[in-house]
Amino acid sequence: MIVVEDIHVTFGRGTPLEKHALRGVDLTIPEGEFVTVIGSNGAGKSTFLGSLAGDVLAEQGRIAIDGTDVTRWDTPRRAGLVARVFQDPMAGSCAALTIEENMALAAARGRRRGLSLALGSDRRKGFRDRIAALGLGLENRLHDRMGLLSGGQRQAVSLLMATLAGSKILLLDEHTAALDPATADFVLDLTRRIVRDNRLTTLMVTHSMRQALDYGDRTLMLHEGRVVLDVAGEERAGLDVPHLLALFARQRGGAEISDDSLLIG
């Protein structure tokens, strides 16, 4: 479970470029929930995910994961609890290392890294089985450098890597945005499968209203650093893309809208 209490993040404080990117986000995400996150450019979606992962530390407020206060933990320390897949397929893996080396890195997430072999024969075999389950034929390419894979293959392997260390939270920041539509669909289906099989608590940022409503159990809309829409269950089932778009447009118009008026849709 993730509990976020009134977090604020400001970039470039005290400079002319000061940007108050998160302005009091309050949220509780129960274990196993799959949340989709939408919002216009600069709304603070990436900043929000970054604040959960530890890339940006909240200057105010509190973040707790499974009851542990992690507000002041840095990224490597939180990595034992949180796995991520980035928008840029290049960002989430090491192009110069082999597929199996990348997997070994991910499998040690949250553990002390000692002098034991990173790729013993047992572990190699385990990786082979796991990657074969992707159905991409990559089990014969474990020695290939990650950089040789296509963007879609890299995202698929990155998703798999996110499950290797047994962490229960998955953060996806537009992880299909750099892919062609067919590949994006494949990666999204894989995402759904992996989230279900591993019972992961998931936040997925997307720019597609369709995806936001089709995937997951709950949808958040961020605007100017605040959550302006938070729907789940029947209420969400009743929403359609045009509703969402209308809400979205109103936010962009900058009109002051209360939560009540939003929910009428």
Binding site: D74, T75, P76, C94, L105, R109, R113
Partner: protein
């Protein structure tokens, strides 16, 4: 080239192979251009020489030299990681400071090792000519270092160090404390360089503050030559490439110097090395340019 000159070149090549491996660690694996080696090499020589004169066991003295080098590396890493000074500048600061430190350690600009026992002493009496014993002993030490280092880089810790150099953001997201790996890697790199300095002092019989000048360029030259003759993806082979590159580089220098027709003197070494490294750095670009323009010219020919 005489036999003595040949083995001499191999010997010095093997000593600097440790520098090449250190430079490979910092420049290639950590992507951290570190010039500290210009100071940590003579530091290793100085520490070792002073301890030998004080009657310390040669192996212990060599170990101390390696630790001194590692400490110098930690200073550079701290300036960069903790105080955010650009890596190149951080290493230049350490290097300059080490010049004074090395003078302090020795108490004068150079120290001769005449009667002192060295790690080589026990092997001199075995009936093998001295000029062959030296590269043999150094060669065994280098081989042990290569084996240990290859195993280290294949460990979970070593893999995390490689990831730190390739994609620090990803490494942090995978729970790697990238700062700790930079400290460890730069310390290791300069520790190997300090050990090289200690071996230099023991094989040549002196330590001198000025021997450090250009160490980084010689190390880089060896790495580049190694990558050219042994373009290997496997890490263990890349380390062997550093050793081979260092020896080949010394042989080439020796050839150039012994060919009277060219008229080079020993003092031209730095110039020759700098030109060699510059050419090696420029060549890949020219090659890439040539291959890019080649299809166009064939089309034009049709």
């Amino acid at each position: 080239m005489t036999e003595i000159a040949l083995f001499g070149a191999i010997e010095i090549g093997l000593v600097y192979a440790l520098v090449a491996i250190g430079v490979y660690l910092s420049f290639r694996i950590l992507d951290f251009p570190d010039l500290t080696v210009d100071g940590s090499f003579p530091l290793g020589a100085a520490v070792c020489a002073v301890l030998l004169i004080a009657g310390v066991n040669p192996w212990l003295a060599s170990l101390a030299a390696a630790l001194a080098g590692a400490a110098a590396g930690l200073v550079t890493a701290t300036l960069n990681v903790r105080f955010k000074i650009l890596h190149l500048l951080a290493s230049i600061l350490t290097m300059i400071a080490l010049f004074s430190v090395n003078l302090r350690v020795m108490g004068r600009p150079n120290v001769a090792l005449l009667m002192q026992d060295t790690v080589l002493t026990p092997f001199y009496g075995l009936g093998i000519p001295d000029h062959i014993v030296r590269p043999l002993v150094v060669g065994v030490i280098v081989a042990v270092v290569v084996l240990l280092l290859a195993r280290f880089l294949a460990s979970e810790f070593g893999l995390a160090m490689r990831a730190t150099g390739v994609n620090a953001r990803m490494a942090r997201a995978q729970g790697v404390d990238t700062d700790a790996h930079v400290y460890a890697g730069i310390a290791l790199s300069n520790g190997l360089t300090g050990l090289a300095g200690a071996l230099f002092a023991q094989t040549n019989g002196f330590a001198d503050v000025t021997t450090g000048i250009g160490t980084i360029v010689v190390g880089l030259a060896a790495v580049i030559v190694g990558e050219t003759v042994l373009p290997a993806r496997a890490l263990a082979l890349a380390l062997v490439g550093c050793v081979a590159g260092s020896i080949l580089y010394r042989l080439a220098v020796q050839l150039a110097l012994s060919a009277d027709a060219i008229g080079l003197q020993a003092s031209d070494l730095n110039l020759v090395t700098a030109v060699l490294v510059a050419v090696a750095l420029i060549l890949p670009r020219l090659k890439a340019k040539a291959s890019r323009s080649a299809p166009r010219s064939t089309r034009a020919a049709k």
